[in-house]
C-alpha cells in the first residue's frame, strides 16, 4: 500500500467513525438521560398515549393515500417517456427540498379558509385547517416524495421486456401491472413506503402550522414533545422521543425484515432491481 493510500484509508475510516458517532450519540443519549422506570411511567401519561394514537392513525392514513395514488403515478412516470415526464417526476420530489414550514403555509394558501380552494371547500361545508384531515394532509404532502421517488426508480429499473412478454402472451394492461410490474417492483415500493411512513411519523413544521396542536385530536408525538419541552417536562419529552425512536426504527426494521422473509426480494441481480434498494 502506498503511503498516500494509507492516509486516505485512515481519513475515510476516521470520517466514518465521526459520522457514526454523530448520528448514534444523540439517539443513545435519549435513552441514557431517562431511567427505564421513568420512561415507562412517562409513557403511561395521558398526553403521550393520546399523541401516539394520533400519530399512528394519521401516519397510517397518509401512507395509505400515498401508496394508493403514488403507485399508479410512479408506474406511468417510471415506464413511459412522454413530453414533460421528467419535469413531472422532478416536480413530485419538490416537497423533499421544501422546508416543512413552507409546506404548512402553502397548504394554508391552497386549502385554508381564505385559500385558493377555500371558497369551493366552504361550498361543500368543508373546513380543513385545525382538523385531523389537516394533519393527514400535512403528513401526506411532506412524506409523498419519499415513496414516489423510490417507486419511480423501482418501476424504471424493471426489465421492460418482461412487461412486453406478458402483453405478447395475452395478458391485458391491468393484469400485466398487477401480476408482473407490482411483484417486480415490490421491494422498492416497500422500502419507499417505509421511508414515507418514518417521515410522516416525524413531521412537525407543516402540521403545527396547518393543523394546529390539540391533544387527542391534532397533536402528534413530535408536537407533544415540543410542548412538553416547553412546559419544562424534559423527562416527558425525552420519554416520548424514545418512544418515537423505537416506533419509527421498529416499524422500519420490521418492514424490511418482513419484506426479506416473505421472499419478496429479487432472486437475482439480473432483474435489474438495483436502484430500488439504494436508499433504504
Amino acid at each position: 500500500m502506498r503511503r498516500s493510500d494509507r492516509v486516505a484509508a485512515l481519513a475515510a475510516g476516521i470520517a466514518t467513525a465521526v459520522l457514526f458517532g454523530f448520528v448514534a450519540l444523540p439517539i443513545l443519549a435519549i435513552f441514557l438521560k431517562v431511567s427505564p422506570s421513568e420512561l415507562v411511567s412517562q409513557l403511561g401519561s395521558h398526553v403521550a398515549r393520546q399523541a401516539l394514537l394520533v400519530s399512528i392513525r394519521s401516519s397510517l392514513i397518509a401512507v395509505a393515500v400515498i401508496v394508493l395514488f403514488g403507485t399508479p403515478a410512479a408506474f406511468i412516470l417510471g415506464t413511459k417517456r412522454f413530453r414533460g415526464s421528467r419535469v413531472l417526476t422532478a416536480f413530485l420530489e419538490l416537497p423533499l427540498v421544501l422546508p416543512p414550514a413552507v409546506a404548512g403555509i402553502a397548504l394554508f394558501a391552497a386549502f385554508g379558509r381564505f385559500g385558493l380552494m377555500g371558497g369551493a371547500l366552504r361550498f361543500f361545508g368543508i373546513e380543513l385547517p385545525f382538523t385531523q384531515a389537516a394533519v393527514v394532509m400535512a403528513l401526506t404532502y411532506v412524506a409523498l416524495p419519499f415513496y414516489t421517488r423510490q417507486a419511480v426508480a423501482a418501476f424504471a429499473s424493471m426489465d421492460q421486456q418482461l412487461l412486453g412478454a406478458s402483453r405478447t402472451l395475452g395478458a391485458g394492461r391491468a393484469r400485466t401491472f398487477f401480476r408482473v410490474a407490482l411483484p417486480l417492483a415490490r421491494q422498492g415500493l416497500s422500502a419507499g413506503a417505509a421511508l414515507a411512513w418514518a417521515r410522516a411519523l416525524g413531521e412537525f413544521g407543516a402540521t403545527i402550522l396547518f393543523a394546529g396542536s390539540l391533544a387527542g385530536k391534532t397533536q402528534t408525538l413530535p408536537l407533544a414533545i415540543y410542548e412538553q419541552f416547553g412546559a419544562g417536562n424534559l423527562d416527558g419529552a425525552l420519554a416520548m422521543s424514545a418512544l418515537l425512536v423505537v416506533v419509527s426504527a421498529g416499524l422500519f426494521v420490521g418492514f424490511r425484515l418482513f419484506v426479506r422473509n416473505r421472499g419478496l426480494e429479487p432472486e437475482g441481480a439480473g432483474w435489474g432491481l438495483r436502484s430500488s434498494s439504494t436508499i433504504a
Partner: protein
C-alpha cells in the same frame, strides 16, 4: 486525494482564523431571549441602546416564555432574559440560571377576532354559545395560562360553566402569542386570546374586545441578566436601560402598562 485533503485543511484553517478575528474585535453582541409578545418593541429598544452604546449589537430570540426558560435551563448562550410571566422568572432565579429579576412592564389579555369576523362574534359571551374556532396558548406558555385564569374568572360574569364551554371550542393550543395572532389575522381562526399589545400591533386586521374588569389577569414581565452571560456588565446596562425612561417610553408607546411600584 491529497489535493482534497489540502482543501479540507485550508478550510479548517480559514474557519479557525475567522473565529480568532471575531473574538479580538471590540464589538459586543448581546443575545436577548425575549417573550414573543416583545417581538415588535424590543428591537426598537435595542436600536436606541446601540445609539448610546456604539459597538453593542443585538441578537434577539423571540419565543414562548416557557421555551425560553427551557433553553436557558439547557444552557443556551444568552445574556438577557425577558419573559412574560413572573412564574418563569421565579423558577429561573431559584435555580440560579438568572440573576434577581425586576418587573419591567405589564400587559393585559384581550379577545381578538379577524377584521372580517367570520363567526360573527359580538362579545366574549359568544365564545360559549356557539361553535367557534378558538385558538389560545398552550398551558405552559404564559399567554395560555393567563387565558385559562381569565376564563375561570369570567364564570362570575357569564355564568358557571362558561370556561368549560369556551375551552371545548379550542381548536389549537399554540406555542406562542405570535402564532395565535397569526392564525387570527389570517382569518383561519375565528377568535383568539392575545395581549392588548399584540392587538395594537395587528392594527385594523383584527377587532378587539376588552374583557370585563373583574376578569383581568395582568401579565407581569420579568427581566434579568442570565447567570452564564459572558457580557454581564453590558447586559446589566441594557436591563437598566429597559427599566429606565427611554425603554419605558418605547414600551408605553407599544401599549404595555408600567410595572407596579416596587419596594
Amino acid at each position: 486525494m491529497r489535493r482534497a485533503l489540502a482543501l479540507v485543511l485550508a478550510g479548517l484553517a480559514l474557519v479557525g482564523c475567522s473565529k480568532g478575528s471575531a473574538s479580538t474585535s471590540s464589538h459586543i453582541k448581546l443575545t436577548v431571549l425575549a417573550a414573543a409578545s416583545l417581538t415588535d418593541v424590543f428591537p426598537k429598544i435595542g436600536a436606541a441602546f446601540t445609539k448610546s452604546h456604539p459597538g453593542v449589537t443585538f441578537t434577539f430570540s423571540f419565543a414562548g416564555t416557557d421555551q425560553l426558560a427551557a433553553q436557558i435551563q439547557q444552557g443556551a448562550p444568552a445574556d438577557v432574559f425577558a419573559g412574560a410571566s413572573a412564574t418563569y422568572g421565579d423558577q429561573l432565579a431559584r435555580a440560579h440560571d438568572i440573576g434577581p429579576y425586576k418587573i419591567f412592564c405589564t400587559n393585559r389579555l384581550v379577545l381578538v377576532v379577524p377584521a372580517s369576523n367570520p363567526a360573527h362574534i359580538a362579545s366574549p359571551a359568544a365564545l360559549a354559545t356557539k361553535k367557534v374556532k378558538l385558538v389560545i396558548g398552550s398551558e405552559s406558555v404564559p399567554v395560555g395560562s393567563y387565558t385559562r385564569t381569565v376564563l375561570d374568572n369570567l364564570n362570575s360574569v357569564y355564568g358557571a360553566g362558561y370556561s368549560d364551554k369556551v375551552l371545548a371550542n379550542v381548536v389549537s393550543n399554540e406555542d406562542s402569542v405570535t402564532s395565535i395572532l397569526a392564525k387570527v389575522v389570517s382569518g383561519e381562526a375565528d377568535a383568539g386570546f392575545v395581549y392588548v399589545t399584540d392587538s395594537l400591533s395587528a392594527g385594523s386586521k383584527v377587532r378587539t374586545f376588552v374583557l370585563p374588569n373583574s376578569a383581568e389577569a395582568v401579565a407581569f414581565y420579568p427581566i434579568a441578566v442570565v447567570a452564564a452571560s459572558k457580557a454581564a456588565t453590558v447586559a446589566r446596562e441594557f436591563v437598566d436601560y429597559v427599566l429606565g425612561p427611554a425603554g419605558q417610553a418605547e414600551l408605553k408607546a407599544a401599549g404595555f402598562g408600567p410595572p407596579p411600584p416596587q419596594g
